[in-house]
C-alpha cells in the first residue's frame, strides 16, 4: 500500500474516514514507520493548537460585518472603469485595438468593392467562356486561354504582356 497523504492521516486522526478507509490506514500504520512518525507529528500539532487560548472578537466586528453586507455594490462597469483609470496607457492601447478591429472590415469591404470593379468584366468573360464550352465546335484551347487569363486577373495578377 502507498504511504498516506498528510490529509488522509489528518482525516484518520479526526475520525472522518469511512470504516473501510480507516481499517486500511490502520493496517498500513502497523507496517509503516514513516507514516506512524507523520501521524505522531500531526497529533502533537493538534494538541498544541488545542492548548492555545481563545481570543474574543472585538465588539464592533459583527455590527461592521452587517453594515458591509448591507451596503449596495457599485455596478460592475464602474469597477471596470475605475481599473482603467488607474492604467491610462493600457486603456489607450485597448482602445486602439478596438478601433482597428472595427476599421478592418470596413476597409476590406471597400477593397472588395474596388476589386469587384476590376475583375467584374473578367469574371463575366470567364463565366461566359465556361458556358461557351457547350458549343461542340468551340475550341477548348482558346476557351481555356480566356478562362485562365481571367483567373489571373480575378486574383489581381494579370498576364504581363497583353493589357486590355
Amino acid at each position: 500500500m502507498a504511504h498516506h497523504a498528510e490529509r488522509q492521516l489528518s482525516a484518520y486522526l479526526d475520525r472522518e474516514l469511512t470504516p473501510e478507509e480507516e481499517a486500511a490506514v490502520h493496517r498500513h500504520l502497523a507496517s509503516c514507520a514513516s507514516c506512524r512518525e507523520e501521524l505522531s507529528r500531526l497529533e502533537r500539532l493538534r494538541r498544541l493548537l488545542a492548548g492555545l487560548p481563545e481570543r474574543p472578537l472585538p465588539e464592533s466586528f459583527w455590527p461592521d460585518l452587517r453594515r458591509a453586507l448591507g451596503r449596495r455594490r457599485e455596478p460592475a462597469w464602474q469597477i471596470w472603469l475605475a481599473g482603467w483609470r488607474t492604467r491610462p496607457a493600457a486603456a489607450l492601447a485597448a482602445a486602439a485595438v478596438v478601433i482597428l478591429l472595427l476599421l478592418v472590415p470596413l476597409a476590406r469591404g471597400r477593397i472588395d468593392r474596388l476589386r469587384a470593379a476590376e475583375f467584374g468584366l473578367d469574371l463575366f468573360v470567364r463565366e461566359h467562356a465556361l458556358a461557351a464550352a457547350a458549343d461542340p465546335l468551340a475550341d477548348r484551347a482558346y476557351l481555356a486561354l480566356l478562362v485562365t487569363d481571367a483567373n489571373l486577373r480575378i486574383i489581381g495578377q494579370p498576364r504581363g504582356v497583353v493589357q486590355r
Binding site: D112, A117, E127, P136, L137, A141, Y142
Partner: protein, 350 residues
C-alpha cells in the same frame, strides 16, 4: 501513330460508317439536294470524333485581343471522350501554363505565380445527333471542297450564320478532327486556329490527363456559377433587384437558362441565350456594389438604343458593358457585333 493499329483502323471504319448512317436519318432542317446532306455527314464526323480518337499536336491560335493580334502556341492532347491537356508554349507570358481538364473539372497551373486554379470543366455536353440538329438550325452548312492541311486531306466545311458570321472548318477526312478553324465576321477574320503538327492514337497514357499540383503551390477553387435552371424569380431573390429581360429577342436567338454568379461581394444575375449552339450571356449586377469608373476605362465607345456602351473585342468573343438604372449590365457572346448590340438595345430601358 498508335500502338493499337487495329483500334485505329476500327475508328477509321466507324467514322465514315457513322457519317453514311447519318445520311439515312431524317435530320431536322435538312435541305433539299445531296450537297447539304453530305455537309451534314462531314460535320457529324467532326462531332463524333472526340469520342472515338485520341490525338496530340501543336496548335497555333491567332486572335485579336484588345485591338492587337496575339498568336498563341499550345501543345494540345485529347483523350477520348472528353479529357484534355494543354501546355502553352508561347508567347513568353504564357510559357509553361498548364491546363488539365478531366471532363469533370479543370486544373490550371500558372508557373510564374506557382498557383493552381480549380474550376469547372470545359468539356462539351450533349449527343452528336442533337448537336448536329442544333447546328443545322443555326447555320447553313456548305461543303466548300477539299484541301490538304499539314499533308492530310480535309473537307472544307462552311457554317454560315444568319447575321453574316461564318465558321470555316477543315475536317480531317480520316479521323473527323478539325485541323483548322476560322471564324469570320463579315469579311473580317476574327479567329484562326490550326495544327502545325498532329498525331492520332487511341492510346494516350491516362497519366497525361491526371493533374498533380506541384509541391507548395497555392490553390484557388473558382466555382462562381451557382445552380443552373433557376427561375427568374429565384434569381431576383438571390441578387436583390429586378432583373432586366429583353421584350423581344434578335432573330434566331432564344432564352436558355438563368442562374447566379457569385464571387466575394459580387452577386450577379446570369441569363443565357442561345442560337442553338453558341451562347450569349447577359450579366446584371447592382452598380452600387462596384466602382463604375474602373469599368468605363476599357474598350471602344459604342451606342445601342440611345445608350452609351463600351465594347471589348476578345477574338471571336465580344463584350458589351454599360450602366443603367443602378445596374451594371454585361453582354458577352461569340456573335456578330450587330446581334449583341440588338440584344443590348432590347435590354436597355426595360
Amino acid at each position: 501513330m498508335s500502338r493499337r493499329p487495329a483500334a485505329v483502323l476500327a475508328a477509321l471504319v466507324l467514322l465514315p460508317a457513322a457519317a453514311l448512317a447519318l445520311l439515312q436519318l431524317p435530320v431536322a432542317g435538312r435541305q433539299a439536294g445531296g450537297a447539304p446532306d453530305r455537309a451534314a455527314a462531314v460535320l457529324y464526323s467532326a462531332l463524333v470524333a472526340p469520342a472515338l480518337i485520341d490525338y496530340e499536336g501543336t496548335k497555333l491560335i491567332s486572335t485579336r485581343r484588345g485591338g492587337r493580334v496575339e498568336t498563341v502556341v499550345v501543345l494540345e492532347a485529347h483523350k477520348r471522350p472528353n479529357q484534355t491537356r494543354l501546355e502553352f508554349l508561347s508567347p513568353e507570358s504564357l510559357a509553361g501554363r498548364l491546363v488539365v481538364d478531366s471532363g469533370v473539372e479543370a486544373w490550371h497551373y500558372e508557373p510564374s505565380l506557382h498557383t493552381v486554379f480549380q474550376g469547372p470543366t470545359l468539356a462539351p455536353t450533349g449527343r452528336p445527333a442533337e448537336q448536329l440538329r442544333a447546328l443545322q438550325a443555326a447555320y447553313r452548312l456548305v461543303l466548300v471542297g477539299t484541301e490538304e492541311v499539314i499533308g492530310r486531306p480535309t473537307f472544307v466545311l462552311a457554317l454560315e450564320g444568319r447575321s453574316g458570321d461564318r465558321r470555316l472548318l477543315w475536317i480531317d477526312q480520316a479521323t473527323g478532327v478539325p485541323l483548322r478553324v476560322e471564324e469570320r465576321s463579315g469579311a473580317e477574320s476574327v479567329y484562326t486556329a490550326y495544327f502545325t503538327r498532329v498525331s492520332f492514337s487511341l492510346n494516350l497514357p491516362p497519366a497525361l490527363f491526371r493533374f498533380r499540383a506541384p509541391a507548395g503551390a497555392r490553390t484557388f477553387a473558382l466555382f462562381a456559377a451557382e445552380d443552373e435552371g433557376m427561375t427568374l424569380e429565384e434569381v431576383q431573390r438571390a441578387v436583390g433587384f429586378r432583373v432586366r429581360t429583353p421584350g423581344t429577342l434578335p432573330p434566331g436567338v432564344r432564352f436558355d437558362r438563368a442562374q447566379t454568379v457569385r464571387y466575394g461581394p459580387l452577386v450577379a444575375a446570369a441569363l443565357r441565350y442561345t442560337d442553338g449552339t453558341a451562347p450569349i450571356s447577359v450579366f446584371q449586377v447592382s452598380a452600387r456594389r462596384v466602382d463604375g469608373r474602373a469599368w468605363e476605362a476599357v474598350g471602344e465607345a459604342v451606342t445601342a438604343g440611345g445608350v452609351s456602351l463600351r465594347l471589348v473585342e476578345l477574338g471571336d468573343i465580344r463584350v458589351l458593358t454599360w450602366e443603367e438604372g443602378g445596374l451594371r449590365l454585361v453582354v458577352v457572346g461569340a456573335r456578330p457585333r450587330a446581334v449583341l448590340l440588338a440584344l443590348a438595345a432590347r435590354l436597355s430601358g426595360r
